[in-house]
Symmetry: D2
């Protein structure tokens, strides 16, 4: 993906922390991440994630289903798989109420909900309310999540809530895949 | 209460819709309400509330306990007492993350969470992070709620979540009081 | 109601503790209660309940909806209205799996679920799987509940679960009725 | 294990369906199962379970924690792993209220709670309130569960409730072990 100029956007601070990073063999296996600032930095070098299982969860802080179901589930996933090499990455995919969910709002939200894993801001698209990564992954809305295997291939993509048992089993299956099988 | 000048505040639009309205005999029985704009206007003339039971609930949209517990409870109260003359009034009492919870954020929040009853914005205080009504009622935090009887006297004030059974019983008791007993 | 002979039943111990007790003006306002034995006796003289609000809840210990919803709700009602003169009375209305739910099973159930209010066993009917009180009240199944006002008149009768807010409000309304209004 | 005589027990029908069946290399790897009768028989030949993952869950039908938490979790596990070769086995380990939880009560319970996987009755011990299998596994109470790997070795044993995410992940990990690794 190419952005002719970040400067055309209202907030020039919103340059991707990591742009167009490839995380797999497929042409769609690129991601732009906009890391929320943090006093306790949680650096993320996507290139280094090859070989690890990645759980990407897309949400909006004003989405009732996200706040009631998927954010608490992410907190439980963080706790359950703390000893594994699972990498959880949040993606704030604002596709409505853009004025209401600014980076400063997201920062306060992450603080209040004690999300420990890194969260990026999906890049706003000047020609559409749908942000760039959301459109590329064809998310139907929020919450959405993507589970990426050690080999960079998408194992599962879903819209809406799923049961903890199913999610726990799926992540464990992905983690059980040996690195040698990449 | 006197505000030397609303104009000293950043957002001159934030004048109270109704300031210093008395709703009871006590000196503390005044309220400032800042009604969120609405396409389907829900006018509120506080003076007209004398004789009705009023449930005032204070919240912040980034307060996890409010979103998980008190907002859904307010929705259930709206439904349960829809046929009564109970007047529910929300109060957005921002005492932290002020930059993150702007009126535009509140408006989107109310839309997403389908709050039907009117919600005011507590007046920011230039000399303190605690807004004016919150300080006056001495709320310890959010969520807080105040139940006001038909005679304008505070029947109950609480901080934190309470069980539905208790809340339902208390509101019903207040409603059962005849208007003649004011 | 007349039972030709308690002796015709398998368990002659199952005579009603209180039979045909009138609790209101209507011909249907009679109840048979079979109190579960208890080491800490909870005496119940139905005639003395006139003037009090009575919540009668019918359940079966093997009814999943009863165990998941109505029994915990009864526990919350016991707690919430502990200071009121509400009288809660359980009724074990076995209409299926009769062999599986003996008095000894009920006794263990009440112990494990810490039901503090008295519970009677609905009288089995020799000619029908539906026990006597259940048929008389025309309960459609379990859980069912009946709220009886201070004057002995049924205020509300319901089948299935209801929201705590609704139940709390209804009981409070009944309690708010003065004894003088009987 | 030796039972001097099944005939000494009150209910001579309670002979184990499968006694002392070995399911692994360890001396403790034997189990007695008493299958609840069923109109739609669910045969279980324990010897045939070698090579499969087995989840053994011990419960009592009058145990509130079992009914509120572990039985619904077993239902979710049945659903989540329906396509796998996981074998779920229930064990009714009555260690209190023996008179209250007869086989007929268990049968009605399994019917009402729609447990699809086979359930055995733990053999009562004439010299102790603790039944035989419960004592052998040293269960501290109910609910308890044991996860047995494809090779017959106990992977995990727990007392009380665990989070769905943890349980789902653990079962998936066990299932991910190839049969060749036995």
């Amino acid at each position: 993906v190419k952005y002719t100029s970040g400067g055309q956007r209202n907030d020039p601070a919103l340059k991707p922390t990591h742009a167009d990073v490839s995380y797999g063999p497929h042409e769609r296996n690129v991601i732009d991440l906009y890391l929320a600032e943090s006093k306790t930095p949680t650096p993320l070098v996507l290139g280094a994630l090859r070989g690890r299982v990645v759980l990407l969860h897309a949400f909006q802080l004003l989405c009732p289903g996200c706040v009631a179901n998927s954010i608490p589930q992410i907190q439980r996933i963080e706790r359950t798989f703390a000893q594994s090499d699972l990498q959880i990455i949040g993606l704030h995919t604002v596709f409505e109420h853009h004025d209401a969910m600014l980076p400063v709002t997201l920062r306060a939200f992450l603080h209040e909900y004690r999300i420990a894993s890194p969260v990026g801001v999906d890049l706003a698209d000047e020609s559409s309310p749908i942000p760039v990564t959301m459109r590329r992954y064809q998310f139907r809305g929020t919450p959405s999540s993507v589970l990426i295997g050690r080999d960079g291939v998408i194992l599962h993509q879903t819209f809406g809530a799923e049961e903890d048992l199913v999610v726990g089993a799926r992540i464990a299956m992905a983690l059980a895949t040996s690195r040698g099988s990449e």
